[in-house]
């Protein structure tokens, strides 16, 4: 066990844990932020996605050693931003949420895409969300929601 310090949603936090513990477990169990979900636990489903120094990663694959001194943003932190509001609105309008388990990860992945590419085409949207599995919606409503934001940006 050792003290590990990093920035979480803009605030410095220190947790007593091990180098090999998963970031996902520290976020959910030690720090009680449960917006980040665990689906597959092996990098396939995207339910656990967070930003690490601004880049989207699967927190189920990241050991705490790789988080020391770095910045983590979870869905709870992202939900306080303007970019989030736009995505939330589009998801609601297009009915892109059913059970909601994939949604935090899907929203994080949507923002990661739009930050890089404000006007993605359908192919780019599909490719960018390829790391996010949804068991409910069949994806079409999600793709539509993302397309809607992309098209609105254009106006």
């Amino acid at each position: 066990m050792r003290n590990i310090t990093f920035t979480l949603n803009g605030e410095k936090v220190t947790v007593e844990t091990t180098l090999s513990r998963r970031l996902l477990d520290v976020i959910r169990i030690d720090l009680g932020l449960t917006g980040t979900k665990e689906g597959c636990g092996e990098g396939e489903c995207g339910a656990c996605q967070v930003y690490l120094d601004g880049k989207i990663v699967n927190s189920c694959l990241v050991p705490m050693s790789n988080v020391i001194g770095r910045e983590v943003q979870t869905i709870e932190g992202f939900a306080k931003t303007k970019a989030y509001e736009k995505i939330e609105k589009a998801y609601i309008e297009e009915g892109a949420v059913q059970c909601g388990f994939c949604t935090p990860g899907m929203v994080m992945a949507t923002n990661a895409l739009l930050k890089d590419n404000a006007h993605p085409n359908s192919k780019e949207i599909k490719e960018s969300l390829a790391g996010n599995i949804c068991r409910c919606t069949g994806y079409q409503t999600i793709f539509k929601a993302v397309k809607k934001i992309a098209d609105e940006e254009e106006k």
């Binding site: 091990t18 180098l19 090999s20 513990r21 998963r22 477990d25 959910r28 169990i29 665990e38 636990g41 092996e42 990098g43 396939e44 995207g46 996605q49 690490l52 880049k55 989207i56 990663v57 699967n58 189920c60 694959l61 990241v62 050991p63 050693s65 790789n66 020391i68 992945a109 990661a112 895409l113 599909k126 490719e127 960018s128 390829a130 790391g131």
Partner: protein, 278 residues
């Protein structure tokens, strides 16, 4: 009790590796999964681990007059976004896994892991890449095909790390890359084909063809590439390719499927390339 370490620099890492066995941990996209446990439980690592992803000395892409130098910790995402690297090198990395994985998976990890489905390996083989391995006593430079001995098998010693990959610069006139898997992205290859070539007017002067995920080690037939340039005989090349395929059926695909599809795609690309297209 396991003793995981996070060395301050490369020298400290190499000293530690020389004293006892540590499993080197870079991005962890292979290692975390191999040690999969139930939800919320500590990963069940059974060996001491040396974490290296924070070591800046092992990170960065550089170029010299004749080579590209890729340090081991460069991620797949950094490969695809590089201003230095040519398209033929960026494209295969842009098709690996998905964005979130590419942000943490390292090039070095993909090579050292030496999986049959490691998509960087055929590409690096076709480009005659060299690997620099380092231990506390010094370094050695190996061709990638000397380094990889089989599925998950390399000649790396326990006290060595991969430091960097050296890729000779060649002004190719064109390339082809095709990866077949079950889904668009994020899926292990059933088969991948990488071709780079040079032409003088319409005449083929250099061609390298590597086929990944079929045999345990990617297939590259250097002698047959030379014959292909001399004779332009595509059928002969494809026959040699057939004899080189020795894969077994597995849960990714069958041998027959792989053989038929590889030959069909390679034929298509070679015909395009030789008929004067780019």
């Amino acid at each position: 009790m396991l003793n995981h370490i996070r060395p301050k620099n490369v020298t400290e890492l190499l000293e530690a590796l020389d004293k006892q066995y540590y499993h080197v941990f870079a991005g962890g996209t292979d290692l975390m999964i191999r040690k999969r446990q139930w939800q919320g439980a500590e990963r069940k690592f059974d060996k001491d681990i040396a974490f290296i992803s924070h070591l800046d000395e092992l990170n960065g892409i550089e170029e010299t007059t004749d080579s590209y130098i890729i340090k081991t910790l460069v991620t797949q995402a950094e490969m695809t976004k590089s201003d230095i690297l040519p398209e033929y090198l960026k494209t295969p990395f842009s098709q690996m896994a998905n964005i979130a994985i590419r942000n943490i998976a390292t090039v070095g990890g993909n090579v050292v892991n030496a999986a049959t489905v490691g998509d960087s390996i055929p590409v690096l083989m076709a480009l005659d890449a060299k690997l620099v391995l380092k231990n506390i006593y010094g370094e050695r430079t190996l061709e990638i095909d000397e380094f990889i001995q089989g599925k998950y098998k390399t000649v790396k010693k326990d006290n060595e790390i991969l430091e960097k990959i050296i890729i000779p610069k060649v002004e190719f006139d064109g390339y082809r890359y095709k990866k077949l898997g079950q889904r668009k992205a994020g899926i292990l290859s059933k088969l991948s084909i990488f071709i780079v070539y040079k032409k003088d007017n319409d005449d083929l002067t250099d061609i390298r063809i590597a086929i990944g995920a079929v045999n345990e080690i990617p297939i590259r037939l250097k002698e047959e590439e030379k014959k292909l340039i001399e004779t332009k005989d595509i059928n002969r090349y494809l026959d040699k390719l057939s004899s080189a395929i020795n894969s077994k059926d597995d849960n990714r695909s069958t041998k027959n499927y792989r053989e038929q599809i590889s030959k069909r795609l390679v034929r298509k690309y070679l015909e395009e390339i030789m008929q004067g297209g780019i």
